[in-house]
Symmetry: C2
Subunit: 427 residues, 2 copies
C-alpha cells in the first residue's frame, strides 16, 4: 500500500510539516510500545503478528472438505466483517454470504435463497454465547433439518478453546478452527475468522498473508517509512485539530465492504473516554453526488480518506453523436473513474479540506492483505498516540445486559432502565 499524505498538510485544520516532524518522535515511542506488545503477544498487539502466526494449512484443510455453491458465515461484528470484506473484494465462483443481523424477514429471505445442501456454514463466536450468532445458528440448523440436509455434514465451528460451540463440535465431530488468542474480533480478518470463507472461495491465503507481511515489514519508528503508520499518525494529528469525522471513500465497488470493516475497526478501537474519530462510509464516484457538497463546503471537521487500486479492468465508452458528449466517446470508464478521483481529491484540497490517498496496485489477495494490515497498524498507532485502550469495547456491555434481561435471560438492572424510557411522541 502507498499513502500520499500531501493533502493532509496546510489545510483548514492547520497541520503542518513541522508538527508532523514533532509527532514523529512520539511515533518512535509508540512503535516501541507496539513492538513490545507484539513480542510478548499481548492482547490486541498479537493481531499484528498474524501474517506470521496464522497458519493457513488447517484453514485450507477444513475448506477442502467442501465443494459448495455457497459459504455462509454466521457471526456478527468482527466475527463476520473480515470474511465478508475479503470475499466481497475478490471474485469467486462460490457465493459468500454473512448472516450478521437478526432481522427475521431478511434471515428468512436469505435462507430461502440458498440451496442449503450446497452451502457450508461457518458459525463464528469466540465465547459461543453471542446472542445474535447463536440465535441465527439455531435457525440455520433448523432450516437445514427442514430441508433434509444433515447439518453436521455442512457446519464448521470457529470458536475459542472452550464454551458451547466447542462442546457442540466435540459432540457432533464437527471440523473446528480456532479464534486466535489475543486477537479482538475486529482485528481477526487475517485469522481463520476471516480466512475460512476466503479459502472456500478459492482465494490465495498465502498471498493475503504475504500482502499483510509486506506492510508489517515496513513498520518502524518513523511515520515516513510505513504507509500504515503515516496514515494513523496523520489521522490522529488531524483528529486532535478537529477532524471529528473520517470519511472513508473507496473508488471501487468491490471495496465497499472494506469501508464497513474499517468503520468497525476505527469506531470500536478509538471511540472511548469521550474521544475518537467517527468513521463515515462513502463510495466513489457515487457519493460525489451525495456527500461531496458537505465534505467540501460543510464544517472543516473531516479527514477524507480516498482509497483506490491503480490498476483495474477497463471498459471503453462507445463513441456517440449526442451533443456535448463527444469528449466521453472513445474514452473509457476507467479514464472517467481516474479523472473523477483526481478531481475530487483536488477539489477538496482547493477548499482546504484535508484528505489522504491510499493506493494498492490491484484489488487482489495481496492488495487486500496490504490494505487490511496497514489500516490495522494505523489504528493501533492512533490508539497509542491518543492513549486509549485500543483493544477493548466496554461500552457495549450495558446494552447486551439490557437485551438479555428483556429476553428473560436473567435479572439485569439495565433491563429495568429500558422500561423507564421517557417518551415524547409526535404522531
Amino acid at each position: 500500500m502507498r499513502a500520499d499524505i500531501g493533502n493532509a498538510l496546510d489545510g483548514a485544520l492547520g497541520l503542518d510539516r513541522a508538527a508532523l516532524d514533532d509527532l514523529d518522535d512520539r511515533v518512535a515511542d509508540a512503535h516501541d510500545r507496539i513492538e513490545r506488545g507484539r513480542r510478548d503477544a499481548e492482547h490486541g498487539y498479537a493481531a499484528l503478528n498474524l501474517p506470521s502466526t496464522c497458519d493457513p494449512a488447517p484453514i485450507r484443510r477444513v475448506a477442502a472438505g467442501f465443494d459448495p455453491e455457497s459459504v455462509l458465515t454466521v457471526g456478527i461484528g468482527g466475527s463476520a466483517l473480515g470474511a465478508a470484506t475479503i470475499t466481497d473484494a475478490l471474485d469467486s465462483p462460490v457465493d459468500a454470504y454473512a448472516l450478521d443481523n437478526v432481522d427475521p424477514a431478511w434471515v428468512t429471505a436469505l435462507l430461502d435463497d440458498l440451496d442449503l445442501a450446497e452451502t457450508v456454514v461457518n458459525v463464528v463466536s469466540r465465547s459461543g454465547t453471542t446472542a445474535e450468532t447463536l440465535a441465527n445458528f439455531l435457525v440455520v440448523r433448523d432450516a437445514m433439518d427442514a430441508a433434509g440436509v444433515d447439518w453436521t455434514e455442512r457446519t464448521v465451528v470457529t470458536t475459542g478453546p472452550d464454551g458451547n460451540l466447542r462442546e457442540l463440535a466435540d459432540r457432533h465431530d464437527l471440523p473446528t478452527l480456532a479464534v486466535p488468542d489475543g486477537v479482538p474480533g475486529r482485528f481477526s480478518a487475517l485469522s481463520p475468522v476471516g480466512l475460512f470463507a476466503a479459502a472456500v472461495c478459492g482465494h490465495d491465503l498465502d498471498a493475503l498473508l504475504a500482502g499483510a507481511a509486506d506492510e508489517a515489514a515496513k513498520l518502524s519508528g518513523s511515520l515516513t517509512e510505513s504507509p500504515g503508520y503515516a496514515y494513523g499518525a496523520v489521522s490522529y494529528a488531524l483528529a486532535e485539530r478537529g477532524a471529528a469525522t473520517n470519511a472513508v471513500m473507496p473508488y471501487a465497488e468491490s471495496l465497499e465492504r472494506f469501508a464497513e470493516w474499517f468503520a468497525q475497526l476505527w469506531a470500536e478501537s478509538l471511540g472511548k473516554d469521550g474521544r475518537g474519530q467517527t468513521p463515515a462510509r462513502a463510495l466513489g464516484v457515487t457519493d460525489q453526488h451525495s456527500q461531496l457538497q458537505l465534505y467540501r463546503a460543510g464544517p472543516a471537521d473531516k479527514l477524507v480518506t480516498l482509497i483506490r487500486p491503480t490498476e483495474t479492468a477497463d471498459r471503453e465508452i462507445p463513441a456517440t453523436d449526442l451533443e456535448g458528449l463527444d469528449y466521453l466517446g472513445g474514452s473509457s470508464l476507467g479514464d472517467l473513474l481516474d479523472a473523477e478521483f483526481r478531481a475530487t481529491e483536488a477539489s477538496l484540497a482547493a477548499a482546504g479540506r484535508e484528505n489522504v490517498r491510499l493506493e494498492i496496485d490491484r484489488v487482489d489477495e495481496r492488495g487486500v492483505g496490504e490494505l487490511l494490515y496497514a489500516t490495522e497498524a494505523a489504528c493501533v498507532l492512533y490508539g497509542e498516540l491518543a492513549d486509549v485502550e485500543t483493544f477493548t469495547q466496554p461500552a457495549v456491555e450495558w446494552g447486551k445486559r439490557a437485551a438479555r434481561g428483556l429476553l428473560g435471560g436473567g435479572e439485569f438492572a439495565e433491563a429495568d432502565a429500558v422500561a423507564d424510557k421517557r417518551r415524547l411522541d409526535v404522531e
Copy 2:
C-alpha cells in the same frame, strides 16, 4: 410515521424542553416560509407538493409496456437513490438494479449478470449531460447491441424538457417521463424519477403517495404536530449544540438503502456555508457490534436516529440444550430484534447520548412513503432554521469541471490545479 423525541432532551448536549418550546416559535415562521414556497411552487419547496402533483398514471402506463425480469436505473445520486430506496425496501418478483457508479469491473459484472433481453432500462438525467450517467448509458446501449437486443424497445428516458436525452427519445420514439420542475434530484423519490422502477416492480404507487400525503397533511406551525418537523427541529437544535454527526440506524435490512438516501438528502441539503450535520450510516443490530462503542463512549457530538417498523414477519428461534442459551430458545428473532432496539436506545440514553426514534407500522408502500416525505420535511425545516440554501449544491461544480477538463471536454482552470497536486508519498 411517529417520532419519539423524548431521548433528545436533557442529554449531554443540554437541549431541554424550554429551549424546544422557544424553538417552536421559529418553527412557526419557518413553516410559513415553507408554505409560501409550496404555494408558489418555488424551486425545492415544490418537492413537498409531490404527493398531490405527481400523477402516477403516466408512470404506470409506461411501466405497463414492459414485463421484464429486471429493471435497471441508469443514473447517479438523486437520479438513482430514490428508485433504489423504494425497490430495496419492498419485495418484488422483478429484480431492480441501479447503475450508479462507473467502476469498470463492476459495470461489466452487472451487465454480464443481466439478461438484457428481459431488462428494461430507465436512463435518468435532468440535463441529459451527467457524465457518469451518459457514459454508462452508452455502455449499456452498446451491450444491448452486442447481445442482439434492440435497445430502442427496452429503454425509457426520464429527463427534463429539453437536452440530449429528450432529443434521443424523440429521434427513436422512446417512452419518456418527466423530471419535474423545481424538484432537486435528492427530493425526487416521489416523482417519476423514483417511482418508475417501483411501478415496474409492481409496487402500489397510490399507497406510496398516500403515505407521503399523510405526512404532508400533518405539517403545521408547531413541531408538536408533525413527526417530520419534530425530527427536523430536534436535529437542528442538537446540531447547534454540538451534534456534528447524525448517525442513522435503521433496524431493518430492507431500509439500509434508505439510510444511504437520507445521507444524500442531509449532506447535500445542509452541508454548506461551513455548517451542516454529517450523516453516518449504520444498521441495527449489526452495527451495535461496530459503532455503538463510539456512539456511547466517544465524543458527545452525535444524534443517533433509530428507525424501525413496529410490525415485521417473525421467525421462531428453535429450543436448544446449549448451555446458557435456553433464554433464546422459544423466543423469536423478532423478539431479539425488539429487545436489542430498546436496549440500544436505553444504553445511549443512560450515557446521556441523544437519540430519536422514528417508527413506521410496516415496511410497505405506505410506510416508505411516510418515511421519505417526513424526512424530506425534516430536512427542509432544518434548512430554514439554519438559514442555508437547502436546494442547491454549488460545491460540487469545481470537481465536475476539473474532471471534464481532465477528459479533454474543454479548457478548465480546475483541471490545471489537479496537475499541481502536492504529493508526500509513503510507500
